[in-house]
């Protein structure tokens, strides 16, 4: 019979893009979570946390499926371990987003009026970084079509630079927020400050993971 019917396997980049969409879905939940926190709507936070868990689990399923699919393949246009690693990094973004939801659940933290604008700006920037990562994953499909050559490669590498820049902006917003709430430290109770600090760390970890994932795309493109 025909050997050609089984020799090809679907390109992994499609599933990879699916995974990145799911991961971004997780990160987008940061927006309603933040609003719920600022509005002190703690039931909503519970609800959103459950949704976040579910979405993160869905991302995990896609990741496992993709991992299973690529075990038996000869990878011709990109390295298999590079692809695997990229997947792992992208998954970290979703994991960290879930961590944020969990931390919100631990304690009814009240964020004072003056800090809310800075906090909102910070969270928005984090979501923006994740969005750009998702767009980047989509471009991998096109790059595969173009056999990883030509001007498109330069465009993608430029996008990676942009993400680094956006992550730097996120760092700046985090610093701004932190300096602001430390300046109010006499008015805030110590545990609140502790939690605000936790929020900062987790949120910037999301952006860092996204940037690390984006940087790894360089290896996928260049390798082989």
């Amino acid at each position: 019979m025909s050997v050609f019917k089984k020799i090809f396997r679907p390109t992994p980049f499609v599933k990879l893009h699916e995974h990145s969409r799911k991961v971004h879905e997780c990160v987008e939940l940061l927006h309603p979570l933040t609003e719920a926190l600022l509005a002190e709507d703690y039931e909503k936070i519970e609800e959103l946390h459950n949704l976040m868990s579910k979405t993160e689990h869905e991302a995990d399923l896609i990741k496992t499926q993709l991992r299973d699919e690529i075990t038996d393949l000869y990878f011709m246009s990109v390295g298999k371990s590079e692809l695997s690693q990229f997947l792992a990094y992208q998954d970290d973004v979703a994991d960290t987003a879930e961590d944020f939801a969990v931390v919100l659940l631990l304690r009814k933290t009240r964020i004072p009026e003056e800090l809310q604008a800075d906090f909102r700006a910070f969270v928005s920037q984090i979501i923006s970084v994740s969005e750009q990562l998702m767009a980047l994953s989509e471009q991998l499909c096109t790059l595969a079509e173009a056999a990883f050559s030509g001007p498109e490669v330069e465009k993608v590498l430029k996008s990676v630079e942009n993400i680094s820049e956006e992550e730097w902006k996120a760092d700046r917003l985090e610093r701004q927020f932190a300096r602001h709430f430390y300046s109010l430290e006499d008015q805030l109770d110590p545990i609140t400050i502790l939690f605000l600090d936790k929020y900062c760390k987790i949120l910037s970890a999301i952006a860092n993971n996204a940037e690390r994932t984006a940087k790894y795309i360089r290896l996928i493109i260049r390798k082989k």
């Binding site: 050997v3 050609f4 019917k5 020799i7 679907p10 096109t142 056999a147 001007p151 465009k155």
Partner: protein
């Protein structure tokens, strides 16, 4: 004795039928898989091109199978034995092919028949009367041809990648590049056919004439291609890169149809020998009561083989084409063209050299070549492995079956 010829005819035709049913679909795989051609047209074109290849270029490999593997001199005393052996080889190879297909194993018709004939030769005349030099060449070509196909396909795709996919305006580059590819494709095919060929049509052209004709033929093809490509509507305001790539693939559909046809052509040239070589030997032995001589194989055998293949293709090939078409989703026209070009040139050159090779293996090598050039992402490791293992067992099994059949037939009838 005439019975032997009739038996040989039947089994030879059956072998050709097998080739048509199983192997020919692979040659059109790139066109069908990339959805450039409907299955109906794929079957029709494959039948025509395969037939043309068999008749026009098939004589060289047929001669090898007919008398190049075993030292026919050794049978001068008793040519009937050789005839018996050829028939048994045909039967054994056909049986093995059907059994392997039944179990879903990808085996090569070429390997089966060569193994069968060699097996018979060793049994009857011992190891000293095989043309080891020729057999060695043939076996070496089985290793080398997929490699060469891969290298050529690699180069072809790198060129496509560099000059078309990486261009500032890929769609435009494709519209210029496709006629150029068509030129080269037709030039190679025409050159291969008419240079030192067509003796059985009594048309022997010398080198300069052959070159000029092939260049002219190539130019005509390129011009036709250019107009075909121009006819399709293009929106020049298409700046999105994805859309440009889609246009490129669309332009390449014309080319991949052409290249797949050339692969079918070259496959006809190489594979018809598997069925017709033994048959021609048997008929000649029975007619002259002597071993096959220096005369080139008559064109009518090639015609018969071509018809047998076409029958097999028409009756069974549909099914295989449909499977290929629905499941080969990763091959796009641009990749298909590169793989086809690599495969076509390799098979044609081997056919001209009289080397029987497996077209399927060469195509697999070509696809791997395109993959290495980063055109294809993932290839199933187990399938590639199974191709090579089934290859290894084909030779001994075909040889063994032939020996068994011959001994049984000898005991029963001879």
């Amino acid at each position: 004795m005439e019975i032997l010829v009739i038996v040989a005819l039947i089994v030879g035709f059956y072998m050709a039928w097998n080739i048509g049913a199983n192997d020919v679909a692979n040659s059109m795989a790139d066109a069908v898989g990339s959805k450039s051609l409907t299955i109906f047209w794929a079957v029709i074109l494959a039948a025509i091109c395969n037939f043309a290849g068999a008749v026009l270029v098939g004589s060289h490999v047929t001669d090898t199978v007919r008398k190049g593997i075993i030292d026919t001199q050794a049978f001068a005393q008793d040519p009937q034995v050789l005839a018996h052996g050829m028939v048994c080889a045909l039967v054994a190879a056909s049986v093995w092919l059907n059994a392997a297909s039944f179990f879903g194993m990808p085996v090569s018709t070429t390997h089966s028949i060569v193994g069968a004939i060699a097996g018979f030769g060793i049994l009857t005349m011992g190891l000293s009367h095989i043309h080891w030099a020729k057999l060695g060449q043939i076996v070496a070509s089985w290793f080398i041809s997929p490699l060469v196909g891969g290298i050529l396909a690699f180069i072809a795709f790198k060129l496509i990648s560099r000059y078309i996919l990486s261009a500032k305006k890929p769609a435009l580059a494709a519209r210029k590049g496709v006629p150029i590819c068509a030129f080269f494709t037709f030039m190679i095919i025409i050159l291969a056919t008419i240079y030192k060929g067509l003796k059985n049509l009594h048309l022997d052209l010398n080198a300069p004439q052959a070159f000029i004709l092939s260049i002219v033929g190539g130019l005509i093809a390129a011009v036709i291609c250019h107009f075909l490509v121009k006819r399709s509507r293009y929106s020049n305001h298409e700046t999105s890169f994805e859309k440009q790539l889609a246009q490129v693939e669309k332009t390449f559909t014309y080319l991949v149809i052409i290249t797949s046809c050339t692969v079918a052509f070259s496959q006809g040239a190489n594979d018809v020998a598997n069925a017709i070589g033994p048959l021609a030997a048997v008929a000649e032995i029975v007619k002259n009561n002597a071993i096959p001589g220096k005369v080139d194989v008559s064109i009518w055998y090639l015609v018969l083989g071509g018809i047998g293949i076409a029958f097999g293709l028409a009756m069974f090939g549909f099914r295989v084409m449909r499977v290929v078409g629905t499941q080969m989703t990763e091959i796009t026209p641009s990749r298909g063209v590169a793989a086809d070009l690599g495969g076509m040139v390799t098979v044609l050159v081997c056919s001209k050299l009289g080397l029987p090779i497996s077209t399927t293996h060469v195509l697999v090598g070509a696809i791997l070549g395109v993959g290495l050039a980063r055109g294809i992402t993932a290839i199933d490791r187990k399938v590639v492995g199974s191709i090579f293992t089934s290859w290894l067992i084909t030779i001994p099994i075909a040889a063994g079956l032939t020996i068994v059949f011959y001994l049984v037939a000898k005991w029963l009838w001879w």
